[in-house]
Symmetry: C2
Subunit: 289 residues, 2 copies
């Protein structure tokens, strides 16, 4: 049986460390990091994520400022709110839950957050710094999901340098920053995607395989080398029958687990790490002030 | 014989187009793009590059403002100069020729240039935008050498999507932005480097091989697949005998040319493209105002 990477437990360890750090910050400065969470409208999945993030932030002692806005809000009003938060000294991190209504330009909104408060690490300045920096610095604002994946890999206490890493997917939120992080760990990094020829055989060569494509159970055992480490970023809801649904990853877990040396489950793998890394970014934003 | 990619000629075509564009700008606005070139000290290679860049800029009608500074200049005086140029409406692009003296922090200097005037495309904002944007946009400030390589590839009029591209080297100036550009052209992109295991066999799989390692004639025929396209970024001066030296690339040209379907020579390949792309960035900076 492979090593099942317990994201829930590893995320809890990170949260425990952050909690202690925030207690020390409070003693020292009589302040705690503040996170503003903006949700527009009532997309069900967004409500679930916002609730989980808010709960986790409060657990570690971060002050949460909730802004649940009607989906009819216009773009300039949203920007005005972000500008207020940019100038509010009690707010260290600003999170805009995606997706936004179609009437609002996501890129404009994300770029209106000052880089120092960009809790998601999506602002061009933070994306640029991530690419330029020679190491995966402690004070960088790094997109939460790929950084969570890296922390899972680091739990294995193996040498990452020289490993053949393949990232499936080239999104700005996961694939691209994941490739940057692995490159700085001195992995040999290949990014594959929908236009890739022979995707299966390239993946089959990977020592480390990160799947971030959003296709349920797409990666089966034929894609995976014996002994590979498999990180599954996918969170897909599929129907079990007419009444029941369940969450599955991008990897066919029950098949691949028999080949991999280590693998993340869905749920309970990357998901909890994403949330813990959001709290990390908020705390870093406080410390970077 | 392979297609020898004539960088000199292709760069000249780009410069001819820019010249026409700048003439039109002049007629329309009674202004021309301005490029400030800063050289600190007298490193011989820097003087050669600055001279070539200045000459090329003038050829296409760009106004060049030269700042040749003594190597004893301190960091804050250099920043003051950059701030003046940042605020000077006649200056659209600012180029700081690297390397700088050891007493000056290169990163601090490069970050002090406003992103809109960052003619080299090295500022975190421009690096971030290059990563985030879905296409290799006409109005992005893209690092000159990798963009020059992409333009050479485009001269071949082949379909880039799905091609297996391998970039040797992971510098901020070439390797990393090159990987981003090729990924946006929908290549499958692998970055290899000094820590890569089996580097030869990975390169041997490449449809497109970009060598940017700075090791003279390092890539020989055993690294190259029959019919591959080889782009040589290296510019290395080696001694022929006690009196004579010559420039060679990172690729053993005379061997690899017998295998490749297309290859760039050194000199006369990537080098002239780098300079032409600097002029492109300066013109874009003017148009983005």
């Amino acid at each position: 049986m492979p090593h099942i990477l317990d994201g829930k437990k590893i995320a809890q360890n990170l949260k425990d460390k952050l909690k202690i750090e925030i207690e020390e910050i409070k003693i020292k400065s009589n302040r705690v990091p503040g996170l503003a969470v903006i949700q527009v409208g009532n997309v069900a999945a967004s409500s679930v994520y916002v609730k989980a993030k808010t709960k986790a932030a409060k657990e570690v002692g971060i002050d949460v400022i909730d802004h649940h806005l009607d989906e009819s809000i216009n773009q300039s009003d949203l920007i005005n709110l972000i500008n207020q938060l940019n100038n509010n000294n009690d707010v260290n991190g600003i999170l805009v839950q995606l997706p936004l209504p179609e009437t609002i330009n996501e890129e404009v909104i994300l770029n209106s957050i000052v880089p120092g408060k960009d809790a998601d690490g999506f602002h061009p300045v933070n994306v640029g710094k991530l690419s330029i920096s020679q190491t995966n610095d402690e004070n960088l604002m790094i997109p939460c999901t790929p950084y969570g994946c890296l922390l899972l890999l680091k739990e294995l206490n193996i040498k990452l340098a020289g490993k053949n890493a393949v990232v499936i997917g080239r999104s700005n939120i996961v694939g691209k920053p994941m490739a940057q992080l692995l490159l700085k760990e001195s992995c040999t990094v290949t990014t594959v995607h929908s236009k890739t020829v022979n995707i299966e055989s390239i993946c089959k060569n990977a020592d480390i395989l990160v799947a971030a494509i959003g296709k349920p159970e797409f990666v089966n055992k034929d894609w995976v080398k014996e002994g590979a480490i498999v990180i599954d970023v996918g969170i897909n809801r599929i129907n079990v029958n007419e009444e029941k649904s369940k969450l599955v990853g991008d990897v066919l877990f029950n098949e691949v687990k028999n080949i991999a040396s280590a693998i993340t489950p869905v749920p309970g793998g990357v998901g909890p790490m994403t949330i813990a890394c959001l709290l990390r970014n908020t705390t870093i934003a406080f410390k970077n002030l």
